[in-house]
């Protein structure tokens, strides 16, 4: 799968993206936006924090707040291997981590393969996703780290802020389907 896509990248203004696996979905983030990828970690849970906060990690002498992408998607907790991507946000001086199930690899995609969010996405998906790359092998949903900042997630108010929101989120999703 990776080989075909690398070939594709030969033409024109290809950009490298890091493809991620969360649940059964594939997601992509531009590599230049990622500061570092950490291997399996066990973030320290923070009681009373919103469900989408996976916890805190020690990182370069700081305490890194880590967002669980699974929780954002309303998926079950996952105890297996995981990866934490570290993002920097120079403007707001906010550094945070994003916990995903795993990193698949780096692929190069062409800018014109990107299409904006279609209408008809529910509000939460609209908030989380930033379009999708149409690849022959399937769609890779594009993520914008800036949209996943803990402060922004809190502001959006879409993802619950108390314990138990996880269950509520799941129920709502089931209702939608």
């Amino acid at each position: 799968m990776r080989n075909t896509e690398v070939k594709q990248a030969d033409a024109g203004d290809a950009i490298p993206i890091c493809s991620l696996r969360v649940g059964t979905g594939l997601y992509g983030i531009e590599t230049r936006q990622i500061r570092e990828v950490l291997g399996t970690t066990a973030p320290r849970r923070v009681p009373l924090a919103p469900e989408y906060i996976a916890g805190v990690l020690p990182y370069r002498g700081e305490v890194l707040t880590t967002v669980s992408f699974r929780a954002l998607l309303g998926l079950e907790k996952w105890d297996g291997a995981n990866c934490v991507l570290v993002f920097d946000d120079e403007e707001n001086k906010e550094r945070f981590g994003l916990m995903v199930d795993g990193v698949v690899g780096v692929i190069a995609v062409q800018q014109n393969a990107l299409e904006a969010n279609p209408s008809g996405l529910d509000a939460r998906s609209q908030e989380l996703f930033d379009g999708a790359y149409k690849l022959p092998s399937g769609l890779i949903v594009r993520l914008d780290p800036q949209r996943l900042r803990p402060s922004r997630l809190a502001e959006s108010g879409l993802f619950g802020s108390e314990n138990g929101s996880h269950e509520r989120l799941k129920l709502e999703r089931q209702g939608e389907q």
Partner: protein, 784 residues
């Protein structure tokens, strides 16, 4: 200005800057120019403020040593530098004022004028003027163009003084009279101006924000840091290059360890600032304040070089200013009264800083009237803060601490009677915020000492690590009062309920309980009350409650790391820290935890708390009679099965120490212990030491001595014929602290005193019974 005549490439940068200034400040400049201007302005502001601070110090010194040319030169330099730089930066108003000042100082430097009080006052005014403009620039970026922003009056006064020089030259004999003529008019003026300046001490502190953000570091320190970073990189390279399991790995790890430690130390050192920085502004403040209050006050410093973390220095600034102001305003008596009391006319306020056991202590000492505790107590009773009975029992020291009670200090009458106490509660809460403390000592007639204790750094605090719901949390030691262990068989009955509130009887007073795991929504076993648990009795911001946790871990010095905003907003955690084992622990904000659990501050409950001891005096008395219950080695099972339970009045026990057996020495067959530089005898009636030594001997035959056995020693104060002396009691283990009541001595019985503790008759260690009920401070006084 400089733009003209500038040619060639080399000078282009200058040209840019100057153009940027002449236009940039009013019309917001474009891109890099604006930034450069801002940087330069910032640097200028920080530098000028430092210059003014030096000038302030020199001026007040000059008043005492009018002939010191060095001081005049220093002041001249400060003003001259400001004038020079302002002209370049294009601040016309500032330049004009500085110029007027400079020419006056020039005359002074050339000894065409002589120093006198009036001249100093005007120069101080000049300094205020300059400082005001600097503050306006800092706040708004301009010098201020309102009509009120006018220095003409001041400039005119400076000019008049300068003119005095001519008169003086013409008529040397009448010099003083002539010169003082114009000054006379300016003196009351100066007083009026000085007053708001002093009153708005907070505003002045706030105005120095640029200084707060910048830090001057010795280039040597910086070089050393750079070298260490170089070393660090080198070591990293070696580690990266070395194969896994390489032989020299332990050596590399050791080097890494030492480099990191050194680097940390030098960064800490760079953050340290001498306390003297804080002291600089006080001579001026004291001078102005003394004038307005009609006192004669001299200020003295000691230990200015004592280093304190930069951030803490800022935190101490306001409380210290407050304390100094109090000392001058209320502490020192008017000159007439001082003479009557047989003291020198001039009062002394002494600022003293020194290191003491991990803290920096800053003392504000005055030789004023002191505080009358009797009147203080009268007032406190009147205000309903204490009952007459409580007041009776209070030691002088305890009574003095009343001035820190919120509400007590704000009343006008107390201020006029006791002479102290405006906003001292604020001083205390400010100090507590940074993990420090404050106390007051006073001797009627000879002065008062306010002692502030500040931790060396904010970033590292002592904490106790506790476990709850399977997770670790750090509890700052400064809010921890005591720890209570509730064993399994007592757990069921230990917790009592009133409505939904759970309570624990701690020495016969009810303590609200907060279960940490429940509060935080952590998983907890349903029968939590069935297994043993610990109660951490905590107190913060007047909230006192028992925090129930599953287990206690070792106390640790923790490095505080801030949390991100979203997590801070939860409110219960003040930060996080990495524990020794590499895992993260959240630091509990004790006050917020209590608030979340609905524990109200004692002050809000005021009447309830105050009324309780009065209603139930016996409870109060029993509290005083707290006993430490412990087990000696004696097995008296044949008698009544009390397995060697003994009691000791809590007030007699100074500390409970765990002492390694190896530290106990023997002199002439008697066990002694070196304790804080003092040799104290150990009492070991039950031969606990021998038993321990034997146990250790048998244990160590199999296994090498790993951590050595320790003995529990109660450091006690025992009254003797010639005062009180410390003795150490070796005990098997300490069981509890509980209220007890001495039983009337039975004449027929032996020398043993008996007490009723926890409904059991327990022997009180001989020689200590009479101390039951005495406050510890009273005993300590006897020691002294």
């Amino acid at each position: 200005m400089r733009v003209k005549g500038v040619g060639g490439k080399g000078k282009r940068r200058w040209a840019n800057v100057t153009v940027g200034f002449s236009v940039g400040l009013k019309v917001v400049g474009q891109g890099p120019d604006k930034e450069e201007v801002e940087d330069l302005t910032k640097e200028f502001l920080a530098e000028s403020q430092e210059g003014l601070e030096r000038m302030e110090l020199c001026l007040t010194q000059l008043e005492k040593k009018p002939d010191d040319d060095e001081l005049v030169a220093e002041i001249f330099r400060a003003v001259h530098t400001i004038k020079g730089t302002t002209g370049f930066l294009g601040f016309g108003r500032l330049e004009k004022l500085a110029h007027a000042g400079e020419s006056l100082l020039g005359a002074l430097r050339n000894q065409k004028l002589t120093v006198n009080t009036g001249l100093i006052s005007v120069l101080l005014e000049l300094m205020d003027g300059l400082r005001n403009i600097l503050q306006t620039i800092e706040a708004t970026g301009t010098e201020g163009e309102r009509t009120t922003d006018n220095d003409d009056a001041l400039i005119a006064r400076l000019a008049v003084l300068k003119a005095g020089e001519l008169v003086a030259n013409a008529e040397p004999t009448s010099q003083n009279r002539e010169v003082e003529q114009p000054i006379q008019s300016s003196v009351p003026d100066a007083g009026q101006q000085a007053l708001p300046a002093v009153a708005s001490g907070v505003a002045v502190a706030a105005g120095s924000s640029i200084q707060d953000k910048t830090l001057r570091i010795d280039v040597e320190v910086l070089n050393r840091m750079m070298n260490l970073v170089g070393d660090l990189v080198l070591t990293r390279n070696q580690i990266l290059r070395s194969a896994p399991g390489a032989e020299n790995f332990p050596e590399l790890a050791r080097r890494l360890d030492s480099v990191t430690a050194e680097l940390r130390e030098s960064v800490m050192l760079a953050r340290m600032q001498p306390v003297g920085h804080l002291f600089r502004k006080y001579p001026r403040m004291v001078r102005d304040l003394a004038k307005t209050c009609g006192r004669l006050v001299r200020i003295e410093f000691e230990g200015q070089e004592t280093g304190l973390d930069k951030s803490l220095l800022e935190a101490v600034r306001d409380p210290l200013t407050h304390a100094v102001r109090n000392a001058v305003d209320h502490g020192i008596e008017p000159p007439e009264e001082r003479v009557k009391a047989g003291k020198p006319m001039e009062g002394v306020v002494r600022l003293r800083a020194f290191h003491h056991s991990g803290y920096v202590v800053i003392e504000v000492i005055d030789d004023g009237a002191g505080i009358s505790t009797e009147r203080l107590l009268l007032k406190a009773i009147e205000r309903g803060l204490v009952t007459p009975e409580q007041a009776e029992a209070m030691t002088q020291r305890e009574a003095l601490q009343l001035v820190f009670v919120a509400g007590f200090s704000t009343t006008q009458e107390v201020t006029s009677i006791s002479g102290r106490g405006v906003g001292l509660d604020v001083v205390r809460s400010n100090m507590e915020k940074v993990g420090g403390s404050v106390e007051l000592e006073s001797r009627l007639g000879s002065g008062t000492t306010l002692r502030m204790r500040v931790p060396l750094t904010l970033a590292i605090i002592p904490a106790l690590v506790v476990r709850s719901g399977g997770e670790s949390f750090a509890l700052p030691q400064n809010s921890l009062v005591e720890l209570v262990y509730v064993p399994q068989h007592e757990a069921e009955h230990a917790v009592e309920r009133m409505g939904t509130t759970e309570l624990y009887r701690l020495r016969e007073s009810l303590l609200p309980l907060v279960w940490l795991d429940r509060l935080l929504g952590l998983e907890h076993s349903a029968d939590a009350e069935r297994h043993d648990f610990y109660i951490a009795v905590v107190e913060s911001e007047d909230r006192r409650f028992g925090l129930v946790v599953d287990d206690l871990k070792a106390p640790e010095e923790i490095v505080v790391k801030p949390l991100s905003t979203e997590l801070r907003e939860i409110g219960v955690f003040s930060g996080a820290t990495v524990l020794g084992n590499g895992t993260l622990a959240l630091i509990l904000d004790v006050a917020a935890t209590g608030a979340r659990a609905g524990v109200r501050p004692a002050a809000e409950e005021g009447t309830v708390v105050d009324a309780k001891p009065a209603e139930d005096e016996t409870a109060q008395i029993e509290l005083e009679n707290s006993m430490v219950i412990y087990e000696t080695g004696q097995r008296q099972s044949s008698e009544g099965g009390d397995d060697g339970r003994m009691a000791m009045p809590l007030s007699a026990v100074e500390r409970i120490e765990s002492v390694p057996l190896s530290e106990i020495e023997y002199a002439g067959g008697r066990a002694v212990l070196q304790y804080r530089g003092e040799l104290i005898p150990l009492e070991d009636d039950a031969n606990v030491l021998r038993a321990l030594a034997q146990a250790e001997a048998t244990a160590s035959t199999g296994d090498a001595q790993k951590d050595g056995a320790t003995a529990t020693v109660l450091i006690c104060l025992r009254p003797e014929a010639n005062g009180v002396r410390r003795v150490g009691m070796v005990v098997r283990r300490v069981l509890d602290v509980s209220a007890g009541r001495l039983l009337a001595a039975d004449a027929a019985a032996s020398e043993e005193q008996l007490a009723m503790v926890k409904n059991r008759v327990t022997a009180v260690h001989r020689g200590f019974a009479q101390q039951a009920g005495k406050p510890r401070t009273a005993i300590l006084k006897e020691v002294a």
